[in-house]
Symmetry: D2
Subunit: 339 residues, 4 copies
């Protein structure tokens, strides 16, 4: 088995998730160094238990290390593009957390840097690797439903983020529905050409005061003629509710939510089965591992990455169009944004 040495930039929540998954499930990758200027003692202990030899503060230790072949960028979002560019210049293959950036020029700069350097770039849209959503994708790709007519996505979080976070999040379309825009393109097998968005403040007035909405409904048009509908809510009391459905000329394929177990209780007041997961990391635990396995496969076996820089760009364009649509009360073409 061929193995490569990798470095992880950023040891916050997602950095630790990737570190743990690589240590457990991706024997082809050996984490040589992880860098973060602000690590708690617990974080250091956690990383030591994963037997990572170099736990450092400065990402430079990774970027300058000729042994390190690939970099996992888990820094704060506003540094994503910078690290992508620097890692590309250092000739390293790159996995970068989503979004590459909210500023389109920065996104383009990052993509261009990777292309110019001839390095691989994979963006962390982890849901594509979820066992359920991926199985829907494969059924669609295998032609089981014939031509795609409609993509339908429900995506609801168990609880809204803090108001402080909402203020800097870029808004529900950039922060939350961006995952669904990626999923919509992924499942439809076509680009979104136009969107129409309704949004409302139904969960918490403070979210409205912070300039955002907490509930949104978006219609999509795809280049292949299909249409899509997405709904988002910041608060589903029953947990992470993420279901996708694709309807076509030969049938429909959909998934239902995972639950921690498959038990069913027959009681006087009804038949009760489990709720959705309440913690995102529990819900997508397999997906996070699978996306790193896919990255390792792309790097080691010189394959294209399964989520390219463009795959990182388009959902942001759609988010921009949806934001504009909601504000202006009209459908907005993606070409208006790109232009």
């Amino acid at each position: 088995m061929q193995t490569i040495k990798v470095g992880i930039i950023g040891a916050g929540r997602i950095g630790k998730v990737h570190a743990e998954n690589i240590a457990k499930f991706v024997p082809e990758m050996e984490i040589k160094t992880i860098a973060d200027p602000f690590m708690s003692e617990e974080t250091v202990e956690f990383l030591q238990r994963l037997r990572i030899p170099n736990i450092v503060s400065d990402a430079e230790a990774i970027l300058k290390d000729p042994e390190i072949k690939a970099v996992i960028v888990c820094s704060p979002t506003d540094l994503h593009a910078e690290y992508v560019i620097r890692a590309a210049e250092a000739g390293k293959d790159i996995f970068v957390e989503k979004p590459i950036d909210y500023r389109l020029d920065r996104v383009h700069a990052a993509i261009d840097a990777a292309k110019k350097a001839g390095v691989k770039l994979q963006v962390g849209f982890c849901r594509r690797f979820d066992h359920n959503h991926h199985a829907v994708y494969e059924a669609v790709r295998a032609g089981k439903i014939g031509d795609v007519n409609l993509v339908k996505i429900s995506s609801r979080d168990p609880a809204p983020p803090t108001i402080d976070y909402v203020k800097v999040s870029g808004g529900i379309f950039y922060d939350m529905m961006v995952h669904d825009f990626d999923m919509a393109r992924f499942l439809a097998g076509a680009e979104v050409t136009e969107v129409f968005a309704y949004g409302a403040v139904l969960v918490d007035p403070a979210i409205g005061e912070a300039g955002d909405v907490d509930t949104a409904v978006v219609s999509l048009k795809f280049a292949n003629g299909a249409m899509g509908i997405i709904d988002n809510s910041r608060k589903a009391v029953y947990g992470y509710d993420q279901r996708v459905e694709v309807f076509g000329s030969k049938g429909a394929v959909m998934d239902v939510n995972d639950t921690p177990d498959n038990t069913v209780f027959y009681g006087e007041d009804g038949t009760v089965s489990g709720t959705c997961y309440k913690i995102m990391w529990d819900r997508y635990t397999g997906a996070f591992a699978a996306e790193q396995q896919a990255f390792a496969d792309a790097v080691i076996n010189d394959k294209p990455t399964p989520v390219t820089g463009e795959d990182g760009l388009y959902p942001i364009l759609i988010a921009a169009a949806a934001t504009k649509s909601m504000k202006e009360g009209r459908p907005v073409k993606i070409s208006e944004i790109e232009g």
Copy 2:
């Protein structure tokens, strides 16, 4: 459309159910007369609303009426055999509620009378006509599961009958599991050759004091080598729980309980769907209509009845064997009973 005139003997609960279903759903049958010596005013009004022209006390009015081609026997159980014999002698086709009788000689006498007279005899094992159980049967008959290896039946009632009823019921195997013995033969496509029964008093000690058990588990051997397991309980707090499963060389087919509606509630404490039906007539409403449609079809189009006199006999033999097995603590062959 050819139609026939029929008479109903007995206007108790089941007599009224058959009367209503024939009036609504079996246009080929016209109820000319219904007879019962003990009818309340409500019963008479109910039957009048069904536009039954002759509502009488004496069954003789039916048996002597040359216009009446077929008779539905819904009398008390201990008169079933007598009415079958008299109706047979009068040359009428006969539908008789289950069981034909608990006394084997009376069952044989009834079956023999029908055979001698050359009239049709159908026994009221209504569950064979249930949309779910019947669809399982059809899947098995169509060869979808290959050779039958195992038949598995759960059958639980929402609440036990009165202790007075328990005392005269003949016991759980004759009164309740007899339906499942019929279903087991029906689904296996083979006769039961041996049974082993465990019983216990777990629901109400008064049932034990009345000489019966309220919970029972029975293993079966079939003539074709397959095996079966049946469980019964007199009390499932969640309602009528009646599920069957047939497992074979090419797969398994099973049914799940009907519920009044198909809604699902996602709440904080779990995902809740409907309970089973709590009223037997609601659960098997379609089955009761379908068995009369089948009887009409047999009579008018001169086909064999779908539930013959022998189909009425065998479950009683199995019930006798199960009762003996439980008492004697050993497996009992059906041939011990028949002999």
Copy 3:
């Protein structure tokens, strides 16, 4: 039991369905007369089997009959309003099939006539009476999901109508989604204030040539702040697919499709359960009976009808707005239509 005599105007498909359901399931209503100028021999025989005493060609026989208290209008759509007005003038309570009319002035005239005459008016939005959709409604009304945030409806037919029908149907929003507009109002407990519609021709180009679309996605805004999404397709190869979901502050409630039976087959290639119904009358058989029971209850016990004239009007306003939205590529307020 108090009973009333009713007349049915129109003995086409839906007229016969109502006649049969009333005969079987609504003992409070006695069909005295059914009128249709174009009845086949089979139709006459069918109606005779239901024991309807007067089978006539001219609706005048119903409108002039002082014994007839209520009228069921099942004529061709373009005569609905006229018969409503004439029946109202004759002082009869009225059940009219949906839509009252496609011309708004005619709808208003019909509603006004009923109001002026002080007679009851019920419109045939049968899906409100479906056991599943109604149970969702009741869960919402009972407060199980808290405040309504989102209504989500999928409604797909097994096969498109003939092109000839498409040409005169008024378009998918008037002909098909009108049911979902009614359901959306019913479930949200609020009026629709604005709609945005996308439509496409994905099923059959001939539908496009006839000036209609066969697939549509509509976003809704309700007066109470909630939002809605509806998708329609003229062709789901797996049958009638009609699911509703309401999401709110305390949870979500949804229904799944009815199937002819509840069996499940475990086979080598997957676990297979039943498909949706393929025939509309099978899918909504109970709903058609229930709406007539509700009408009888309203008439006999002098209650408001559960689907009023306004309930007949608003879905048509929404259909008009959706049609305009799709054509003009912008969201359309209902007030633009009403004005």
Copy 4:
């Protein structure tokens, strides 16, 4: 975090599974040594990738190592008892794969040795740790179903083992149903007092020629009055089918099979969802990890092990009774075996 050093005796299929799970999911345990006299090159490479420092042929290296606190016994079954005794004498806590042995005197000797030495002993009944079965157990223990009346277990394998294996397996009750006997005790919360067994050769005549059956149905009586039914088949074409159900005075709780994903396909020929797992290791992947986590917890925090030596003994007693019951055609009390 306190950690301990462990050794693994045996590097066959199950030894490697435990090694991998401990390496990935049980940071509290550090595998110092693994011993097996017959390791392929692939096995050695696999173990090296897990970073196990000592890969040796002789178990003595483990038993004599004072640093090693606990031993995982994964040797061939007929050496289980011997290694348990030797590890106990060496003062090490012990995890031993099921069954401890098929010879009752050896089982007792092993249990006694552990007791005498005062070391912990855990037996590898992994299914108790399965997320579904465990959640059923917890619902029962929490009193959700009230008093237990009935335990119902279906357990079917995707394909029979080789005939060579069948010959030395001890028979279906020892080899396969022993898991279900353990599960029955676990779920009922009571000891089995009597069993009745039917067996048949329905899958492959060669299994019969080897002196075993391939399909079996067993009834159980528990000390608390409850009853049980278990069915086993060596061949379910649709995969591992393992469902448990517990019915009691307040309801029933059951689990359904895990599937690789939760997708549902609506097609013309039915609604298709996934099949059961076809590979045992995939089905119980989480359970194997969880039982080692539980063992580590018991050893490090000085808690009782969750599956004791007696828990290893009783299912073997029940298997002996079931074997005797099938041969002698009568119910057999467990006390007949123990005596």
